[in-house]
């Protein structure tokens, strides 16, 4: 009896030490799940999920504090991939359909150079200085619309990104492409 208790106690102690050592030695900084979630998010930093950016939302989801359906720009795709990653059930995306992609554009006639939009932009995509004309770097703009509310003169407008030859996609079969279904002119000749 005593031997058994001693043995168990010794074993427990040994494993405890081992685990304690391992938790120190193999300590992981940060939250790897949050990283994986963050990698799936569209990084618009728009805050439409109610968190101040994609990373905080990822952390909240990782902790189980937030639902996986809050990312509006990511839409269903992001929700489904989050559900896959976390083994949760898919839920309908809140906030409706994702808008078509757009970039901000500052009307040079109206901008007063107040720098408020500079401070709002999460990716430093607006260039300018006090009392100087501001301009949006199209390539860097994520279309988060965070610069719209602070503008005192409402001079920022969202311009949808036009499809060009490089970004054009074949439509899902059944939705016939415009080009392939317009033989009328040829036949008329």
């Amino acid at each position: 009896m005593l031997i058994a208790i001693t043995a168990m106690a010794l074993l427990a102690g040994a494993f405890g030490l081992l685990l304690g050592y391992a938790s120190v030695r193999f300590h992981v900084e940060g939250d790897p799940i949050a990283d994986q979630i963050d990698a799936l998010l569209p990084q618009t930093q728009c805050g439409q999920c109610g968190y101040p950016g994609c990373r905080p939302y990822a952390e909240a989801v990782a902790k189980g504090e937030a639902e996986i359906n809050l990312c509006v720009p990511g839409g269903e795709t992001v929700m489904v991939s989050l559900a896959d990653l976390l083994g949760r059930d898919p839920v309908p995306v809140e906030g409706g359909e994702a808008k078509p992609k757009a970039v901000a554009w500052i009307d040079p006639q109206e901008c007063i150079g107040c720098t408020l939009c500079l401070q709002a932009c999460p990716v430093d995509a607006i260039l300018g200085a006090a009392k100087q004309l501001h301009v949006v770097l199209r390539e860097e703009c994520t279309g988060c619309e965070l610069c719209l509310p602070p503008c005192p003169v409402d001079c920022i407008h969202m311009h949808p990104i036009a499809t060009d030859l490089k970004t054009w996609k074949w439509p899902y079969p059944g939705t016939r492409p415009v080009a392939a279904s317009a033989p009328t002119q040829v036949a008329a000749n």
Binding site: V123, E140, W170, A180
Partner: protein, 556 residues
């Protein structure tokens, strides 16, 4: 997947390999290959898309109103994988603007519009390089790049890039298979200008370092085989190979397998197995560029189908509107129900005939409803597996179809979607008329889009993090400054250490030193020496007042 012996133009037989699947199609080539190619008339205007190739669009070098000469460089390649653009004739640039381009989307893209002046005056061309054998390959590649040559078989990949494989090459393959029905432009080129193709081969061999050249031609083109065989007889490096007619043996990887029995690895290039493959038309264009200093400004194009009155081939300038070509082919018969650029298997429909011919445009097809019947709406897949039997790449088209239909973009890649060459064999044999290739194309572009978005998201994340880091740093610096200021204020004024007192002391010291210095010179500091008479009067008045006051004081 088998090896067999096949009779060759030399009279002997040769070992050839047979790829998996493929389909036998009625070739309908006799429609357009019975008369030699005609030179197309100069159109009223030329429309030159800046993007006619895989890679980045060319950068225009002219502006509206400029006069250009035939062969003048009007668009410069913007990056390594890009191609130059030349004026196909002399005339005036009327505009550089968006115009519908030959693309399945039917979208408009920037084009240079030229109004020909009919003079056909040539620009100054670079000197010919008949001595290419002694020149540096890089110099010849630069010439090919200048000439704006892209793969003329349909893919339009810049030729100079393909000729710089960076790996040892032992075999050059020339593709004269032309396996798609209706198309005959390569056939007529091989028949009409075999010497131009053969002039190109030594240049290609020199550039790639290959020892031998195989020219693969399907046996439904006996005249072309004969012509090239006769022309190449003297050169033992070149072998003209007659191959059985089977669609898609003109696919790059399929042709390599048929000729050599070697498979190009998945996601790989022919260069990985020591081979480079070019279309016969590209070889002729390279000969023109190197030996005659001529850029690529025209090409052979087949105009065919029951929808045109006199099908045939035309040597047409790049940028010629499709309507001009159809008019010269006798015009519309009214029976065609579509206008297709490319062949019936891999071509795409054009939305109107104002679209110009581009460098990759090998065929304009106007099929009648009898020639290309409308398959009607797709029925359910019955899992018959005929698509898998027909697939020349050994894929499982049915699986690809299910996953593409379910928009499962990860699983569809697990089944090697990107090895699909979109040859449409599977759709051709499908008894349910499912537009399989459309599903694959949809899935491919969707995956590219997803990749693009992922890259953009990653970029945005980095920028956001950089901004966060900057804001934190600024905040830290501000805090540090505040702390310093606070600490300075909070310090109790030590005795004799008060800065204000110290400053007063220092000023007193300075004044005393100054006085001492003046005293040493025997001067007393006076400021009453250079006074104006008015000031002096005021001083005297003040002195008088003072004296009077002193007098009155003593009186009291």
């Amino acid at each position: 997947m088998s090896v067999h012996r096949y009779p060759q133009p030399s009279g002997r037989s040769r070992r050839l390999w047979r790829f998996h699947g493929g389909v036998h199609l009625p070739d309908r080539k006799a429609l357009s290959n019975t008369r030699p190619p005609l030179r197309a008339e100069l159109p009223g205007r030329l429309i030159l898309p800046l993007q006619q190739h895989i890679g980045e669009a060319a950068e225009p070098l002219v502006k509206a109103g400029d006069r250009v000469l035939k062969g003048q460089l009007i668009g410069r390649p913007r990056s390594y994988v890009s191609a130059a653009l030349h004026a196909p004739t002399s005339g005036r640039v009327t505009a550089i603007e968006d115009h519908p381009v030959p693309h399945p989307s039917g979208l408009s893209a920037p084009c240079i519009l030229i109004e020909p002046d009919g003079e056909e005056r040539w620009a100054e061309l670079p000197e010919p390089m008949p001595d290419f054998g002694t020149r540096d390959p890089a110099e010849i590649r630069e010439r090919i790049r200048w000439a704006g040559i892209v793969g003329l078989g349909g893919a339009a990949f810049p030729a100079s890039v393909k000729l710089n494989p960076g790996r040892p090459i032992h075999t050059l393959i020339l593709n004269g298979a032309e396996c798609e029905p209706y198309i005959t432009c390569d056939d007529l080129l091989m028949r009409g200008r075999p010497e131009a193709i053969l002039e190109g081969i030594p240049i290609l061999l020199h550039l790639t370092g290959a020892e031998r050249c195989l020219i693969g031609i399907e046996d439904n083109k006996p005249e072309a085989i004969r012509a090239l065989y006769e022309a190449a007889r003297g050169d033992e490096r070149i072998e003209v190979v007659r191959i059985p007619t089977l669609y898609p043996s003109g696919g790059e990887k399929q042709l390599i397998y048929v000729l050599t029995g070697k498979e190009v690895p998945s996601n790989g290039l022919p260069a990985d197995i020591g081979m480079v493959c070019h279309n016969v038309g590209t070889a002729a264009a390279i000969a023109d560029a190197v030996l005659r200093g001529r850029p690529l400004i025209s090409r052979l194009v087949t105009v065919t189908g029951g929808g045109v009155a006199q099908p045939g081939n035309f040597e047409a300038l790049i940028g010629t509107p499709v309507a001009d070509l159809i008019r010269q082919a006798g015009g519309y018969t009214g029976r065609g129900d579509r206008l297709v650029l490319g062949g019936p298997m891999m071509g795409f429909a054009l939305s109107d005939d104002g679209i110009p011919l581009h460098k990759a445009g090998n065929c304009l097809l106007l099929p009648t409803p009898e020639e290309a019947p409308d398959p009607g709406s797709a029925l359910a897949c019955i899992r018959c597996g005929r698509c898998a039997e027909a697939c020349p790449v050994n894929l499982l088209p049915q699986q690809l179809y299910w996953f593409a239909r379910a928009k499962d973009l990860d699983r569809v890649q697990d089944f090697n979607l990107f090895d699909c060459i979109e040859c449409a064999c599977c759709a051709q044999v499908c008894p349910s008329h499912i537009p399989l290739v459309q599903y694959y194309r949809y899935a491919k572009t969707e995956i590219w889009e997803r990749e693009r978005e992922r890259r953009q998201a990653e970029h945005a994340r980095r920028r956001h993090e950089a901004r966060q880091a900057r804001l934190e740093r600024l905040e830290r610096e501000r805090q540090a400054r505040l702390r310093k200021k606070k600490a300075a204020l909070a310090k109790p004024p030590a005795k004799g250490d008060d800065p204000r007192k110290a400053a007063i002391e220092a000023a007193k010291r300075r004044a005393a030193e100054k006085r001492a210095a003046l005293a040493a010179q025997g001067k007393t500091p006076r400021n009453t020496e250079n006074l104006t008479p008015a000031q002096r009067r005021q001083v005297e008045a003040a002195e008088a007042r003072r004296a009077a006051a002193a007098g009155s004081d003593t009186q009291e």
